[in-house]
Symmetry: D2
Subunit: 347 residues, 4 copies
Amino acid sequence: MSFSVAVAGASGYAGGELLRLLAGHPDFEVRTVTAHSNAGQRLIDVQPHLRSLAHLTLVDTTPETLAGHDVVFLALPHGASGALTAHLPADTLVVDCGADHRLESETDWAAFYGGDYFGAWTYGVPELPVAGGTQRARLAGSRRIAAPGCNASTVALALAPGIRAGVIEPDDLVAVLAVGPSGAGKSLKLPNLASEILGSANPYAVGGVHRHIPEIQQSLRWAGAAHPTISFTPVIVPMSRGILCTATARLVPGTSAAAVRAAWEQTYSDEPFVHVLPEGRFPRTADVLGANTALIGLAVDEAVGRVVTITAVDNLTKGTAGAAIQCANLALGLPETTGLCTNGVAP
Amino acid sequence: MSFSVAVAGASGYAGGELLRLLAGHPDFEVRTVTAHSNAGQRLIDVQPHLRSLAHLTLVDTTPETLAGHDVVFLALPHGASGALTAHLPADTLVVDCGADHRLESETDWAAFYGGDYFGAWTYGVPELPVAGGTQRARLAGSRRIAAPGCNASTVALALAPGIRAGVIEPDDLVAVLAVGPSGAGKSLKLPNLASEILGSANPYAVGGVHRHIPEIQQSLRWAGAAHPTISFTPVIVPMSRGILCTATARLVPGTSAAAVRAAWEQTYSDEPFVHVLPEGRFPRTADVLGANTALIGLAVDEAVGRVVTITAVDNLTKGTAGAAIQCANLALGLPETTGLCTNGVAP
Amino acid sequence: MSFSVAVAGASGYAGGELLRLLAGHPDFEVRTVTAHSNAGQRLIDVQPHLRSLAHLTLVDTTPETLAGHDVVFLALPHGASGALTAHLPADTLVVDCGADHRLESETDWAAFYGGDYFGAWTYGVPELPVAGGTQRARLAGSRRIAAPGCNASTVALALAPGIRAGVIEPDDLVAVLAVGPSGAGKSLKLPNLASEILGSANPYAVGGVHRHIPEIQQSLRWAGAAHPTISFTPVIVPMSRGILCTATARLVPGTSAAAVRAAWEQTYSDEPFVHVLPEGRFPRTADVLGANTALIGLAVDEAVGRVVTITAVDNLTKGTAGAAIQCANLALGLPETTGLCTNGVAP
Amino acid sequence: MSFSVAVAGASGYAGGELLRLLAGHPDFEVRTVTAHSNAGQRLIDVQPHLRSLAHLTLVDTTPETLAGHDVVFLALPHGASGALTAHLPADTLVVDCGADHRLESETDWAAFYGGDYFGAWTYGVPELPVAGGTQRARLAGSRRIAAPGCNASTVALALAPGIRAGVIEPDDLVAVLAVGPSGAGKSLKLPNLASEILGSANPYAVGGVHRHIPEIQQSLRWAGAAHPTISFTPVIVPMSRGILCTATARLVPGTSAAAVRAAWEQTYSDEPFVHVLPEGRFPRTADVLGANTALIGLAVDEAVGRVVTITAVDNLTKGTAGAAIQCANLALGLPETTGLCTNGVAP
């Protein structure tokens, strides 16, 4: 069985990663790739790493070019997919890698994004612990899926197990992330230039203004927190891909280190793509480069009364395109792991 | 049909890359992984990016642990495989990623390596143009294969088409390579430290002393050069993987630019893993990261009378482990492309 | 007036940075450079970036070779300076860049370092706010100075102003640092290899075990905290130098954002080497590369109730060698800024 | 004695480096900094690494704002300085870091740059061996100086000694350069993005089209070559600064290795900023980061009949801004080395 696929925004980094993964997926056939300013060019000239898709040519991103496919993946700038998707048939599986359909709260949308609000779709983090199970259940059969923000899903996967288990306090969470610049896409802005990033660590969106904060809070509410609050600071570092998230939370008084570890291990024990590392081991982003894997290391700092989690994710793979395909697998009834690799490219 | 596989030197970078590729190969089953100082450890603790092989444990590298497999891949330091392989059955396919069996000339071996000489095996660059065809023909059915040196095979693939076609002069070749440090393996030496390499470009083996020089000359002789000579300079640059080879050769007087282009394009027109880019396009190493692909860009600099080739290869994939598996496919009668990816991980 | 100087450990990274700065200092003359395994080599062969000191040759590190200088800088592995310095004259200014003389608490020493305890010297962070003033007053005329740990001084400079002013809570501090590998010196260990660090973010010493923690607490006690506690996580990122420290603290309830900003700005308003950036601006490590400058950005995250500080320091300059020279200036009665640059090398 | 200085193009990378060096120069006082789109901003907000110049504000780049200074440094895009400088007084020292006044041949200008031709100024590479001496003599007292192209001056310094001495052939030169992206300035183009450059080696201007080629030829003609030809290939690598140039030339038959070495060593034996390394040693770009130093390593590859030179230069310092200040020192009768550092920032 093969599903026909269109990828909108195929000239960007997220679009390129979708195509790289789709090219190795046995049940998907990429028929259409769309772009904006690059429309008319051969895909291989814009994404020279995608040799196996050298036969494709970019076309304009319109409802017409996207129509007639079983699955449409959108990798468009924020705000661009909302208007477009209204024109796609209801029975087409649409997976949006942008932010337009992630937030259930129109207030949050207005506060952190602004512009038209398009409503929330099924949130695309299957492993996320939610009341009574995981987010996975909601994805089966869904036809409108919002792939997560890469930073947001990383933090949520890191902290939700402890919140659901009641072993960490859901307020006063603190997360600091070392992230690669590919998350910013091909945006031609000074802070994205190589000369600005090579040899330097650059913070941004400091002090509670990053757009992924409400998305994290939404996930943590699903995990059981009434009013989660999180100090969230991303730092761009000189690696093209990867998120290394250090997320800490206050330990609920009286909780043992064993109980903490059990909360995380039990949550993810059967997951193919999320792994809790043994005591004393912590992941590096190199371990997950190009893989659909999230690796979590865990420590209890008794002297401070905080649980420290270290989570490594490839922002473009498990953080975006891999998650999108994993969700598409679930939505279409395919084995969830189809076409997705758990091994990183290292060194 | 599944072949049982052992990988010796599984704790190193080349060994890790072999395992990453083997993990995705439908016809190979990795049963045994061996190491030296790391024997006894779980593979996942030494190669934390190889999640799908987390069940394996490293054992000692001995003829006994390697015995009983259909295929043995060796990723050992130079000099280590020669003695070992004498003890392996003649009908076991052995692919050596080290240098011990690459050179046909014992004189060259003595001059550039020294120590015991173990004789040459079938050289593992299938696409290499040789008299009357390609190296591929020699690999079918072979049971002893020497995977190439990453720099050597890159230069040979870059220049051999022009030599075989008689459009470039085989002497006074000049190659300068920007290379990542993973080619040096996990050797604990000062020049391999991150602090030495980050933010810096570091030449080594300057002036005709690099060990890959006789290997390049051997390949170019197979392509038809009686006495090839090459100035060869590698420069370590701050990227973990990759070779960007600028190789130039004097144009045979009177040769047209079209004839030059035709020589390369005809040589590789049917190759799945070696591609000549269109006029005016040149590859980047990012385009082939993790892929079994060599991309070649070509220009004729009329003012100087030189052909300039730019070739991008991932030193660990097409340069080493991918080539080894490609050759194993050929030796075993599998489709040559089985389990090998042509798409890079970019950005 | 010129002071004669010896640098012990001149072949390492900290020693090299001391020499780079001393070479540009008008009042210091480097007469002796010592090393261990590199003794007998020309300095320029070990530190090829120090052209202006090409006349020096490394000698053994002994009390005899260090004797007879006005100033001795020690850049030795932890544990090596304690025994050595007992043999130096009391009126020689000795500045130790190692950890041996930083901690006043023998208990902390035993818990985090172990081995012989050598007692505390004057701590070398002049700008540190302490009861009744700054650490500067204690440094004038001192003849035994402990240069700070780079991470420890960065965190202390980041948080001490708020603690002394009573605007942040001194417990439940959280610091996550993106750091370059040069802080680990030339130690030949696998995690320090370029291939391990390029393209990856690597945490270490997670969960309250880093040796700089008691040093941070000591500084914060001097700033007025009775029982400071801090969750401290360093992450190695692919830049040779630099610390980008994200340090957060709970806001004391009822404190205004203006009061927070005033605490930091008043503390450092007259400092030549520590600067608080304007509202909305945050530093990058590139801004301080090679400079003796600490730049601090500040935000109040009202939604979380935390103050977020971002501090950029070059670990080898302001974090180690620059601090050492700044302290030597103070100890010898020279203008504090002599020979020290506030401008970074960027991009 | 203090000279008043204006820097035009102060918001770019070359302008920033000029200011960093001028800030440490005892005889220059920066009074005016100009920009285009950044005019009106505080310099420190655009160049946050230049703390010591925090008092300056960017003004428009006009003849009026540049008038009234003893020295004007121009760091403008190619084509911008030519028209501007016609309006500056003849007795003002003007040093142009752009290409507008480098080429003596209007034909070359038309072929490689195009647009208005503004005529050649005194070329700013003091150490360049020319007939009867060095370029230095022409710089004394000059009031119009063209600072060199960074790649061009690196190649010229690398090869000119051998050409003047007649030990290498001036045709069929081959140079391949690993270069950092800062040479491209703050231009907002896709190939300059960090995601494109991190982890990758990217060639550009392949095949004889790079604009520095005629500038190299011009220098080599001054060194005695009638018709120099050079194959020139730059490769962008992931370091913000630096040029590592591998330049080779055919050995004149019958020339001894000693004669080759003597040619280079004699040329630069008294130079403060250009050093020939001992036999068997080769420079890294880290050795010259931020320094006004060119380091040259030399080998004779007898098997090929080529001399191989490896030259390390910081493109922004010795390649551009340092050269400009060195030339200004000469033009004004100051000691040539004033305010210029020979030590690199490493690691």
